[in-house]
Amino acid sequence: MALARKRATDEPIQVPEKIAVSLIVNGVERQLKVAPWTTLLDALRDHLDLTGTKKGCDHGQCGACTVLVDGRRINSCLTLAVMKDGAKITTIEGLATDGVLHPLQQAFIDHDAFQCGYCTPGQICSAVGLLAEGKAKTADEIRELMSGNICRCGAYPNIVAAILQAMGRS
């Protein structure tokens, strides 16, 4: 049974103007104009053509959209681009420097820490955040603090091994 869904007011909503937003993405300032309801994930993928960041569930449950905002890992699908005006965003495209892979990218290759690869950009960005936080010291703690990143292929043992390598503990 479909129920009629009404807003709290019956007045028609004026479609808002697009809002100018400045994001510093992977070290480069980018100006864009977005509707208020554009998520950071959609801004990155559809406005800036940075499709490395993946849309999985789009509800904050899978972690495929994980990016770093001002150095902290977040779910970009549950963040509005307009709210992040002026923020520094790091995506998977911004991790390698001068053609040299980030240690976590190299560790994921060394440990074969993926199969299909769809969750991998989110896994790696999440792991970059994890290393910066400095709270995980053991494999148990890595598993717990990486639990926001789902891997349907089940590459978890190798993901943990890769992160341990990047931490210098293997």
Binding site: M1, A2, L3, R5, K6, R7, A8, T9, E11, I13, Q14, V15, P16, I19, A35, P36, W37, T39, D58, H59, G60, G63, T66, R72, R73, I74, N75, L78, T79, L80, V82, M83, S126, G129, L130, E133, K135, T138, D140, E141, R143, E144, L145, M146, S147, G148, N149
Partner: protein
């Protein structure tokens, strides 16, 4: 997602002015629950008022030895704050038992209090739900209700409050500071969330033109004897079937003071002060803890799929109190329950 207008509040007074002027508006801070609900068409604000840049991000000691936590302190920052980790480890433990690190990095203290139930029928706009559409009926009562409440339910609603953090805040006897058009007021944590009764559409006693500005903790943090034990369908990143925040102040083996609150069992964090009173003066024995559990669950009522929660809650209460008494709180990374 639906279309909406966006505005940024310049200070708390401006935020209150804006929300009072537009009943169809909502505040947004971390956004982790609200944006999800908007994508599901459950929340349909015409305007979002961004409060994420307001200066409510401090954790400060109060004159009476407690802690004042700004409403915009992210959950992860709060869990790892040295004063919280040291003096209120029950709170830190409960926060780290919930969500994922990405979500904790986004979610705010005030938003955690205001998050809405994860009842499947509340989320599913194709089904009746009194919380979403008052008067439409409750699909959970005779539906899939394995995750649902066993305490304080009503004919209208059997949803649970999803927060872990709030269970610890209830046990720690926190206060909630709010601001509105007529000034500020302070609410006891027990008075903040509501039972469903006949108005399940109202989760809290916060008025529609008020904003949460801070959560205050009293001086006593029970850092020596506490445990937050959460039972769920997978080891991490899942909502509680039953969780228990237990805290004890001991004199040898005698309980001087006890705190006991449950998550996953009711429309609000379920603190039971009668069970706490019954524990006072008793020895820390399994029999004492079992009696307290029986008291908490004296009026528990299961539905078709969640009656198991009554016995589960009894066991989790006894285990959490045992862990607290021993001074061996449940680890939130090694999930073995000892």
């Amino acid at each position: 997602m639906i279309n909406f207008q966006y505005a940024r509040a310049s200070d708390v007074a401006d935020a209150v002015r804006r929300i009072a002027a537009d009943p169809a508006a909502k505040f947004i801070a971390g956004g982790t629950n609200l944006i999800d609900l908007m994508k599901e068409d459950v929340e349909r604000p015409t305007r979002l008022i961004d409060i994420s840049r307001l200066p409510l991000k401090a954790v400060e000691e109060t004159a009476d030895g407690g802690l004042r936590i700004g409403a915009l302190v992210p959950n992860s920052d709060l869990a790892y704050h040295p004063l919280v980790a040291q003096r209120y480890p029950l709170l830190a433990s409960a926060i780290l038992a919930g969500a994922s690190q990405q979500l904790r990095n986004m979610a705010s203290t005030g938003g955690n209090l205001l998050q809405r139930t994860r009842c499947y029928y509340f989320y599913d706009t194709a089904t009746p739900c009194n919380k979403r559409e008052p008067g439409s009926g409750c699909s959970a009562r005779n539906g899939l209700n394995r995750m649902h409440a066993i305490l304080g339910t009503s004919d209208s609603c059997i949803a649970t409050h999803p927060s872990d953090m709030c269970v610890a805040l209830a046990a720690l006897d926190a206060k909630v500071h709010v601001a509105g058009p007529s000034g500020e007021r302070v609410m006891a944590f027990a008075d903040f969330h509501r039972l469903p009764g006949t108005t399940p559409q109202r989760d809290t006693n916060l008025r529609s033109d008020e904003i949460v500005t801070a959560v205050e903790l009293p001086a006593q943090g029970f850092a020596g004897h506490y445990s937050y034990l959460k039972i769920r369908d997978r080891l991490s990143y899942a909502f509680a079937l039953v969780s228990v925040a237990a805290a004890l102040e001991l004199d040898g083996n005698t309980i001087k003071q006890a705190r006991l609150a449950l998550g996953g069992v009711a429309h609000k964090p379920w603190r039971d002060t009668s069970a706490e009173a019954a524990l006072r003066g008793q020895a820390t024995t399994p029999a004492t803890f079992a009696q307290a559990a029986d008291l908490v669950l004296r009026d528990a009522k299961g539905f078709a799929h969640n009656t198991f929660k009554i016995d589960l809650a009894r066991k989790v209460i006894v285990r959490a109190l045992t862990q607290a008494a021993r001074g061996t709180p449940q680890s939130q990374s090694n999930k073995k329950i000892r």
